[in-house]
Symmetry: C2
Subunit: 116 residues, 2 copies
Amino acid sequence: MKPVNLADKLSQFSTHWDPHVVADYNGNDIMVVKFQGEFPFHDHPDTDDFFLVLEGEVTLDVEDRSHTLGPGELFVVPKGVTHRPRAENEAKVLLIEPAGTPNTGDAATAAKKPRI
Amino acid sequence: MKPVNLADKLSQFSTHWDPHVVADYNGNDIMVVKFQGEFPFHDHPDTDDFFLVLEGEVTLDVEDRSHTLGPGELFVVPKGVTHRPRAENEAKVLLIEPAGTPNTGDAATAAKKPRI
């Protein structure tokens, strides 16, 4: 039970598409992640997917539309909806997913989500 | 399914301790709220309580400790833990609670949480 400084946590790693867990909320992982480049299209059949941009610019390709988000903008991708995050330049993002959700939608290719 | 600009949403109301729902995530209300002054001590017996400071400074009195949070700092109060948010000057906060959670811990005194 202590405050979590997101910038401090983000300074602890430099890898992209590598979410790190910083807090728990009712069985959900609260994570910070750095995006750069394109992630694969995927979906999460059992959960919504929460993105809040902290720094930089992120584009979410969601079905047949693209949504560009800047700092202080959030987007919730509903469960089962195919999406792809991408960022031309490095962007920093707060993610929320139920603990154990594979970030790629597939446990075989998912990131490990270390806790920091 | 569209981006939510938190500053835009916060500009739509001026009341304090009056959370407004801006998005849904797996049955949780994603809310923005303005704090100023002291809220009553309370707890939520069935849910954790998520706070992320967007602007200004918030103090959370949690059991026998006080935690001061600035922008980009979050805190999760575990379920059942007594807490009181307060802010000397206006602060803007992102909150997450399961839909229907009374913000005071008591349905009789809870805010209505309008959707914007």
